[in-house]
Amino acid sequence: MRRTYLGEFEEIVLLTVAVLGEGAYGVSITNELDEQSGRSVSLSAVHAALHRLEEKGMLSSYLGDATAERGGRRKRLFSVTTQGSQILHEIRSVRERLWNAIPPNSLPSIAFDL
């Protein structure tokens, strides 16, 4: 099977879904991304990414509860599928392999504040 390509933004969204666990849906993911990465993300971009990820089979979803502030509309809650998890792990192991392979002092040093 051809390995599915995952874009950088998609990867972050997928990770955020994993972080949020049970309560991952459009607004919560957007807010979490805002807080964690500090970059302003538009709701529509998140929806588009979620939609793509679901099509690629890395997310599954179901319709959850409705609230008054949503005008009585239900939210779509997302969770990471096995395939999604596999991809995340693959990406992580590739990165770790690469990190480990970097010779000491080959990266210019940067100062840590904390």
Binding site: V27, T30, S44, H47, E69, G71, G72, R73, R74, K75
Partner: protein, 897 residues
């Protein structure tokens, strides 16, 4: 609770709902709402609403736009099956509702026929001279003319004969300047040893102009295909003629074209020309109907030089025309500026043209066929307002027919609601249903289109008096097929779309329950509005018919101030022999009186002349002048109010004037005018009589100051008053035969032409008579279609209310009260349409009547009469059904449930 929450902008919500895929809408909108509430808390309502709108816009992305595919896709085979099912059901429905189908078919057929025929006529008229290469650069040189200081400036379609040559040498804005002169002449083809072939001159009223004297440049402005001869030299020398192919065939039969070159053609008995070229006839519509192009140089080499002076600056002749082609890239304004300078150079004080003034201008070729202000001797003018009127009529008739369709189908929609319910329950969606209902309209429209195409020829034949010669209808013309298809599709859309929309909108649950429809009330208003529109249009036509008819009978019966009864006008050759002819005619029995004249008191032409009166102050006046001898007044029974008739004389010695002239010069009462001297053409003549005002032009214009004088050299036409007392039309024939005998004795070689003055006068109003015929037909059709629609609706209402009527009758309602119940709705609608139509008709008719200096008043009772007519026609239509419904035995109508 949710009501207290601030709301995002509604338009943004609406936008989102309209573009977002339905399966994604809930989650997306929910998320947006949630975020909105958060932003209200963080930034306030205003900012939150703004951000909401932006967020909605940012969702215009492929993933949100894309619809989920239908899980049950339709295949070609099922689609075909459904379509054939639509047509089957449609056909059954048409058969089931025979009356309304027939009404719709009739209405649509009439509407489409009207559109088709009128379309053919208008496209014919609009196609004139559109095919010339560089047509947008071709202009006719026209202008405004002022003959003397007292004359009015008039627009004129022809220019002094010296101008074309001067334009060529003095201006640089024109690529080509071409001129031609229309020539009226018979043609002789010398036969050598055989007999000569002789062709008569054309009948100016019936046949197009054929012969022109043209310079070589004519063929540079207008492009012809040359079949024989050399275009470069064909018109360069005197006595050459270029013929069109058809004309060459007419003159010389089937000779090979090359052999026709050099053959002799004789014009006016003495102008001998040799054929130097043959060109192909144009197949497209054109006002340039010429077939014989004689070289312009022929003028100088023949007797024509006495008639056509090419160096003349101070007069104009309608036969002499000039066309120019502007330089490439030049504009009309530039050319006009150059022409204005040219005009200033040649016309003005001390330019050798006396008081004659001329300001040249340009008329685009596309305007030639329509602008009646610029008259000439060859083009046939189409009246644009009439064309627009025709288009308007066609559109209105089609609209009325479409409205019938809409009304009848929506009225019957309740009947079909169950069918719609079942179809929807079984999985039809709205667009399928719209397709189904449209297919019904399509069947009817196709039927009407076919009938209309069959009817087109008979209609064109029936109305041939209106229709310019050359209009043709053929089934296999691409333009006609294209236009009928577009008329058809417009009709299908107009008539079918709304009913389809209404019918397909039923909710299956409601429809199947059988409780009708909750939008019924609203639809009733639409239907009523459409009926009002239909009848307003019909009333508009009825009122116009009445007023146009009244004006025409006013024209017929108006006392013209003279008698045209049993008067024949005979045009002579204007030579000395005309007096002899008059003497001979005088001897014919049953001829009461004969006068020598130039033109009857009222005719299609008139002449203006300057009169000067030197009293206390010098007064000048532009007067209409009629030429006649001492028999003129008694023959036309012009009534003297003062003085006497002029005495017999060989030259001009006395004048008779009309009251208007006397008043304009300040002679009042009229007998003050007697003995006063008026200066005409430089000499003084006494006024000996004053006649009552008479109409000397059509009723379009008011009566001008007029003088009647005897100018022996002009009084060459003959008016004959017949004694027809106690005689019938067939008794006139022998008298005419006797007069003809007298004519042949004097002019053995000329054709005897005469006209009854009555007919000539009637012809002045031929356009109005056509208008009358047109509005009569239009109103008949409009009323017919509207009433058909009304009939259909009435039938339907009566049918629907059968039970109600039964119950009412059982409870004691009288037949009259039931008829009133069923009719009063319609009457109310027609009353409303009277109110709507009257002011529009009043305004339109006022515009039309303003064409006449003398016209009838628009009286209030005309509107009343039209209203009463409309109401009675409608009542007649409706009552048939309502009486039938009211008479029905209630036991019959109530027994079944």
């Amino acid at each position: 609770m949710s009501a207290k929450l601030p709301h995002p902008p509604r338009w943004a919500d609406w936008l989102l709902e309209s573009f977002c895929a339905p399966h994604l809408l809930e989650e997306i909108q929910g998320d947006l709402y949630e975020r909105f509430q958060r932003q209200v808390n963080l930034f306030g309502v205003r900012s939150a609403r703004q951000q909401y709108a932006w967020a909605v816009l940012s969702f215009v992305k492929p993933f949100a736009l894309k619809r989920r595919p239908n899980p049950y896709p339709t295949t070609i085979s099922t689609r075909l099956a459904m379509i054939s099912n639509y047509f089957k059901i449609a056909w059954r429905n048409i058969l089931r509702n025979k009356i309304s189908s027939l009404i719709n078919l009739t209405g649509l057929t009439l509407g489409i026929s009207a559109c088709l025929v009128i379309g053919v006529i208008t496209s014919f008229e609009l196609s004139y001279d559109t095919f010339h290469p560089d047509a947008d650069r071709i202009y006719r040189v026209v202008g405004t003319v002022k003959f003397n200081n007292t004359a009015n400036e008039e627009p004129i379609g022809f220019i002094p004969r010296a101008i074309p040559a001067a334009l060529r040498s003095e201006t640089r804005g024109f690529e080509i300047v071409a001129s031609f002169h229309n020539l009226e002449s018979g043609v002789i083809i010398p036969g050598g040893k055989q007999e000569d072939k002789v062709f008569k001159g054309r009948d100016m009223d019936q046949e197009p102009a054929r012969i022109v004297l043209a310079d070589p440049q004519y063929f540079e402005v207008f492009s012809y295909t040359w079949l024989a001869g050399n275009p470069k030299t064909a018109l360069n020398t005197p006595n050459q003629v270029v013929l069109s192919e058809k004309q060459a065939r007419l003159y010389f039969g089937n000779l090979p074209l090359a052999k026709i070159l050099g053959k002799e053609v004789v014009y006016r008995d003495s102008i001998r020309t040799a054929v130097s070229g043959i060109v192909k006839d144009w197949v497209q519509n054109s006002d340039f109907t010429f077939t014989d192009f004689i070289s312009l140089a022929t003028i100088g080499a023949s007797a024509l030089k006495r008639e056509i002076n090419l160096n003349e600056w101070n007069d104009i002749w309608s036969a002499s025309q000039t066309f120019v082609k502007l330089n490439k890239g030049s504009t009309e304004d530039k050319a006009l500026a150059e022409l204005a300078a040219f005009g200033k150079r040649h016309f003005g004080p001390d330019r050798g043209t006396g008081e004659f003034r001329f300001a040249p201008g340009l008329q685009p070729l596309s305007d030639l066929h329509f602008n009646a202000a610029y008259m000439d001797n060859f083009s046939r003018k189409a009246h644009l307002p009439t064309l627009y009127g025709l288009i308007g009529i066609a559109v209105f008739i089609l609209l009325i027919a479409a409205i019938n369709f809409i009304n009848l189908s929506t009225a019957q929609s309740v009947r079909r609601s169950r069918e719609v319910g079942v179809r929807k329950a079984l999985g039809s969606n709205r667009s399928n249903l719209i397709g189904q209902f449209m297919s019904e309209t399509l069947i009817l429209t196709i039927g009407s289109m076919l009938i209309a195409m069959l009817l087109a020829k008979p209609i064109l034949f029936a109305f041939r008096s209106f229709i310019p010669a050359g209009v043709n209808f053929s089934f296999f013309n691409l333009n006609i097929l294209g236009s009928i298809l577009s008329i058809g599709s417009i009709t299908v859309f107009l008539a079918g779309f709304y009913p389809a929309l209404v019918l397909s909108a039923f909710r299956p649950a409601v429809a199947l329950k059988g409780s009708g429809n909750n939008r019924r009330q609203q639809r009733g208003y639409l239907r009523k509005g459409l009926i009002v529109f239909q009848f307003a249009v019909s009333l508009l036509f009825i009122i116009s018919t009445l007023i146009v008819g009244r004006q025409l009978s006013f024209i017929r019966n108006k006392d013209l101030g003279f008698s045209a009864d049993a008067v024949i006008s005979i045009n002579t050759l204007h030579d000395e022999k005309s007096t002899v002819l008059a003497q001979k005619i005088k001897q014919v029995a049953a001829v009461e009186r004969v006068a020598m004249e130039w033109c009857a008191p009222l005719n299609d032409r008139y002449m203006l002349n300057k009169l000067i009166y030197k009293g206390d102050e010098i007064k000048e006046l532009e007067a209409s002048i009629k030429i006649g001898d001492e028999n003129y007044l008694p023959l036309y029974q012009l009534q003297l109010v003062a003085g006497r008739n002029m005495r017999q004389s060989d030259t001009l010695s006395e004048l008779v004037v009309n009251e208007s002239l006397a008043k304009s010069f300040g002679f009042s009462p009229a007998d003050q005018a007697l003995g006063k001297l008026l200066n005409l053409n430089g000499r003084n003549y006494p006024i000996v009589g004053v006649v009552k005002n008479f109409h000397e032009t059509s009723l379009h214009a008011s009566i001008k100051p007029t003088v009647i004088a005897y100018l022996d050299f002009m009084a060459k036409d003959i008016a004959v008053k017949l004694n027809t007392k106690g005689k019938q039309m067939r008794d006139v024939e022998p008298i005419l035969a006797d007069i003809k005998k007298a004519w042949t004795a004097v002019y053995p070689d000329e054709v005897f032409n005469y006209s009854f003055l009555d007919d000539v006068i009637q012809k002045l109003y031929s356009r109005e008579q056509k208008t009358a015929q047109l509005v009569n037909t239009a109103s008949a059709i409009a009323i017919l279609i509207s009433c058909l629609g009304l009939l259909g609706l009435a039938t339907f209402t009566a049918e629907q209310r059968t039970k109600e009527i039964g119950v009412r009758k059982v409870l004691g309602a009288s037949i009259t009260s039931i008829i009133a119940l069923l009719s009063k709705d319609f009457i109310l609608l027609i009353l409303i349409s009277i109110v709507v139509a009257s002011p529009i008709a009043w305004w339109g008719m006022k515009q039309w009547l303003n064409n006449f200096a003398y016209h009838v008043a628009i009286e209030w009772w005309v509107f009343l009469l039209a209203g009463v007519m409309a109401i009675s026609i409608a009542l007649l239509t409706v009552s048939f059904q309502s009486i039938k419904a009211a008479m029905k035995n209630p036991a019959e109508s109530l027994k079944s449930e």
